[in-house]
């Protein structure tokens, strides 16, 4: 005979979450927004006009993103390694660069680099032609993200336990061999996810390049809204395009991460 206080079956605490508690509703919300925008663009003339005026900017946005990302990665790797270098000058110059960039807001930096630093540098090294506004803007982004990436590279390399380096060296591998075969491949697993996030962040921040007149997505949207006064249509469409791009990239990055870590198969 059970005690009187035993709960009835329907009053029992459950140890399993209900499906609607676990369901990714957020994905449904995003899906609904995308469906709504897609429908609008197909059926509504104003939205369709906005779409056709804005989306050609995608090529310049992607071009700027990839160019800035590649240059930033090179700068970031150099400055990240520089901070870990034995050489005093290298170490301190890298550190100063990172600290300066991280201490200034992005928009202020874009203006400063694109309108002052790059022109003066190009004059200094004696480039005959002025650097185009597009490349000035890209270099500005690359310099900024180079500093962020330097921290990622440095952290990634430092995330590899010291014992790994010691195991490599104790087998007779040189410092360089140990770095190449043991430290870097492991650092990559720590580096790829945040670098992927930075790629997406760069994509979004190319939006700032509109202030320099680059005809990317945001600039197109501003021109569209300024000439037609259709702010809602123009800005919704702009956001819609960025969102699609970022979602597509996120899915792609997840695949890359998976390919990069074969030893974790089955743990995900």
């Amino acid at each position: 005979m059970p005690p009187a206080s035993l709960p009835a079956a329907e009053r029992r605490r459950s140890d399993t979450e209900t499906w609607w508690n676990r369901f990714p509703w957020w994905a449904v919300i995003i899906g609904l927004f995308i469906a709504f925008m897609g429908l609008k663009i197909i059926t509504d003339d104003d939205y369709r006009l906005a779409w056709f005026r804005i989306w050609p900017g995608i090529w310049l946005t992607l071009y700027a993103t990839i160019a800035a990302f590649v240059i930033a990665s090179i700068i970031g790797l150099a400055a990240g390694m520089g901070q870990l270098a034995q050489n005093v000058v290298l170490r301190n110059v890298s550190r100063a660069y990172v600290e300066i960039i991280r201490g200034i807001p992005m928009l202020a930096l874009i203006f400063t680099v694109a309108l002052v630093v790059v022109p003066e540098l190009s004059e200094w090294v004696g480039l005959p032609n002025r650097v185009s506004p597009f490349w000035r803007a890209v270099l500005a982004l690359a310099l900024i993200y180079g500093a962020y990436m330097a921290e990622i590279f440095r952290g990634g390399i430092q995330s590899v336990p010291r014992g790994q380096l010691e195991a490599g060296r104790s087998l007779g591998l040189s410092r360089q061999q140990t770095m190449n075969s043991i430290v870097f491949p492991q650092a990559m697993r720590a580096i790829i996810p945040p670098i992927g996030n930075d790629f997406i962040a760069i994509l979004k921040d190319t939006s700032l390049l509109s202030v320099l007149g680059t005809l990317e997505l945001t600039r197109n949207a501003r021109q569209f809204t300024a000439s037609t006064f259709k702010f809602r249509e123009g800005l919704f469409t702009l956001s819609f395009i960025y969102l699609l791009l970022v979602i597509a990239l996120s899915l792609l990055l997840r695949r890359v991460e998976r390919v990069m870590t074969p030893d974790r198969k089955g743990e995900r």
């Binding site: 336990p161 014992g163 790994q164 010691e166 195991a167 490599g168 060296r169 104790s170 087998l171 007779g172 591998l173 040189s174 061999q177 075969s181 043991i182 491949p185 492991q186 697993r189 030893d263 974790r264």
Partner: protein
């Protein structure tokens, strides 16, 4: 000529951290020397000076007649001759077991891949886990990982093997499988320096046991003398604690 010759070894990390305070040790080829002592007494530091993972503050270390402290010595070449097994295994997690065992063979010994694979498999047989060749380290138990680490060092055909508490990170039921591999290695005539708390291993395999305290060798003796008839009070006190 001794295989390992340590003379006047001193290692100071900071003015107030004197990890090793003057150690002399001569080890012949084929000898097994077990080092014991309380935690923090400098055992690891002595081992790490023997393959120059730490640079001695003073003193000399010879491996098979080559002085490691000499700047002209190619350390990578010497280290290839000195295997080291760590408490935490330190396998390369991004490589398969076989890749762990062949990497240095290919890069340092410059053996072609098929030769390195053959040697690697032979060593995996020796430590009893050839069937795990294509697994990743994280899929192995601690004891298996440590045996792979031993195979990884052996694949380089080292003249000397250093062990730094190889069973201290293992669950009790896995200690024996690692010690068995080490016992076999000792029986095969490998020159070994082993830091361990496994007194059974010391009795069975050691030619000499050295007791270290506060960065100095207090007493060195054959296992029977050492355990049954320790000469120093500190040795006796330590043995009382651990036995």
């Amino acid at each position: 000529m001794n295989m390992i010759e340590v003379r006047g070894l001193i290692k100071t990390f900071a003015p107030d951290i004197q990890a090793v305070r003057g150690v002399d040790l001569s080890i012949e080829a084929g000898e097994v020397v077990v080092i014991i002592g309380p935690s923090g007494c400098g055992k690891s530091t002595i081992l790490r000076c023997i393959n120059l993972l730490e640079i001695p503050t003073a003193g000399d270390v010879w491996i098979d007649g080559v002085n490691l402290v000499d700047q002209a010595t190619d350390l990578d070449l010497v280290r290839a001759e000195v295997g080291m097994v760590f408490q935490q295994f330190n396998l390369f997690p991004h490589l398969t077991v076989l890749e762990n065992v062949t990497l240095a063979q290919r890069k340092v010994r410059e053996r072609p891949a098929h030769v390195a694979d053959e040697v690697g498999m032979a060593q995996l047989h020796r430590v009893g886990i050839p069937d795990k060749a294509h697994a990743y380290p994280r899929q192995l138990s601690g004891g298996q990982q440590q045996r792979v680490a031993i195979a990884r060092s052996l694949a380089m055909d080292p003249k000397v093997m250093l062990f730094d508490e190889p069973t201290s990170a293992l669950d009790p039921e896995m200690i024996k499988e690692v010690l068995d591999v080490m016992l076999e290695l000792a029986a095969d005539g490998m020159t070994m320096v082993v830091v361990t708390h496994e007194m059974g291993f010391a009795r069975a395999a050691a030619n000499r046991v050295a007791f270290i305290d506060e960065g100095k060798i207090v007493e060195v003796a054959s296992p029977s003398d050492f355990f049954d008839n320790p000469q120093h009070d500190r040795t006796r006190a330590f043995l009382d604690q651990i036995l």
